[in-house]
Amino acid sequence: MADLEIKDLHVRIDEREILRGVDLEINRGEIHALMGPNGSGKSTLANTLLGHPSYEITEGSITFKGEDITESEPHDRAKAGLFLAFQYPVSIPGVSVANFLRMAINAKRDEPIQVKEFRTQLQHAIDLLDVDRAFTSRHLNDGFSGGEKKRAEILQMAMLQPDVAILDETDSGLDIDALRTVAEGVQRLHDEQGLGALIITHYQRILHYVKPEFVHILMDGKIVLEGGVELVERLEREGYDQIRQEFGGQPELAA
């Protein structure tokens, strides 16, 4: 059984069915890419996996490390080892990055983390993400640039050490330097900590820096094509329209 198993997942938001039977399996140590045009349901899948209350699961199940988490609270999923890097990270005024990280780490533990251990971990993450030390005393995402927000997401991921992380369009809106830093950060967490990742992206850019073993194409709420990294190249050549024609997607549902 895979670490994260998604079976026949149907999801609605505001009476509209967005996911129409998604099956996906992700293990620790595997990097997956989920690609698809706008409106195909990528972000819905990401939010549903972490239990966003606005998304209603009408059919199917999500199992994580053998436990059915279909109905679990978001924080329980996080404690179990799931992580979501947000497409649009939320600013939390009045709370520093470091304090927030400490709270998040302590939420997963019985005993609060020792100051020294926390500092060591934080320094490691700072080096990995190429950020300034002062960065961690700023209020979380408050007044951050797009690139800083995405770095802060990966910084949190590095500190929380999830088993499987979902990265929801982490590459969007990044310049090439930020993109490289973020992607290399993910790759290193994979190499060093055995992170499993589902990289959700509209574009192919990020996949030049982080190498997925599995690629899935999502269209109109269904995975229509799966394969290896060669799929990325095919997409680059042909675009989504070609694939849509081939697999009979329903264009009227695409945004």
Binding site: H75, K79, G94, A107, L160
Partner: protein, 467 residues
Amino acid sequence: MSAVPNGASEDGAGTNGAAPIQVKAGRHREASLYSALHGAGAGDGRTLTQLREAALKVYEEAELPVWRRSGFWSTSLASLDIDALETSVSETGVPDVVSRTLPDGPRAGRIVQSAGAVVQVELDEALAERGVILCSLEQAFELHGELVSEWFSKRLLIDRHKLEAANAAFWTGGVFLYVPYGVVVEEPFEIVYAIDRPGVAQYGRTLVLGGPTSDFRVHEYDLAEDFEGQALHANAFELYLQDGARCRLAQFQDWGSGEVYDVSTRFVGVGRDAYCHWLPALLGGHLVRQHLELAVMEKGGDMAFRGLFFAEEHEHLDVFAVDLHETGPSGGDVHWRGTATGESRASFEGLIQIDPGAQQTHTYLQIHSMMLSPKARIDAIPSVLVSADDVSASHGGTVGELDETAIFYMQTRGLDRPAAVRVIVEGFFEPLVAELQDEALEQLVRGRVQQKLAAAREDIEAYATSR
């Protein structure tokens, strides 16, 4: 968070299941209930005895006040049984709530009044040698009569309502702090008013003088034990800063769970090139009505007027904060934040008043409120009265709710819902709390906010699901 348009608070009628008070939209918008003290006080050469006699007359003739703003808001003391209260002057020692609450850090001095009597006075010896005075106001009238009489009630009045008159007529104990010319004190002077039992009418009276170029901190604590029954705290506080003086004034107010009424007037006058940073933290009281006035009285004066409040359960809070500029050039910066849970009501009226001739005054007023409960209500009413043409005065504010996206974000990091709510509310207050610049006091305020959130947990959940 949505911006509040110029001059308007959220519509008066509750839209979230609160007891409906029918108000036509916009009807209350121009309704300013209160006005600034603005001008000379009662201390116009009369002796203390004469002032007490005049005040007594007002007290005997006046009814308990009801302040009503266009029907949708009223602060009424009708339920206060004032005749059943007494002003005890017997020395009962320092109440437990004082030792329980106050930080045990270094301090310049401490004075504690319990009910009607000053029960503790301590002052750093080195400061006493440099001329600093900290004693009861009664004693100050005896020992430093000339100095005290010059400033006493310089700007405070005695006849606007029954409780103001009661204070002026009946005050006992009281606090006098004098920091002379050029004396700089790092550690805070602590002023404590405590009520240890029901049935007490406490008439607090504070006079603080900062001599030219003095620099000091004052931390006031208003505390009561948790008891059942009524008590009254009516305070008249005045602080004057002379040329170039600087003061950081903070107030931690938490009257506990008893039925404590607090009707107080506080005036801070900033002299030439002087500066005051004033931050009241209003964190509890059955019915609290505060008239807080920070005035630049002479050229070059500058001020930062901060404040936060958190009303809960059935508390009623009515704050009138005045940013008064009597002359220019002067500066002002008013920034308040508040929230409410349970079925509490909070009204914050903020007034910028710039007098004729107070040219080159620049000031700004911002009020932020956060709604946490379906039945709680906060009204934020900014107003601006400008009588000079070469000035800038503006106001802004936000009315926010708990941001579900932010809660989900934090949940995906492993924080449960209550923890996420706590982070948001603490973060909401943090810009002001951090300005206290005193670790122990900051922790005290943060801790009290946490307690209130924990107590309102179910209520906050109910709000989330009702939206």
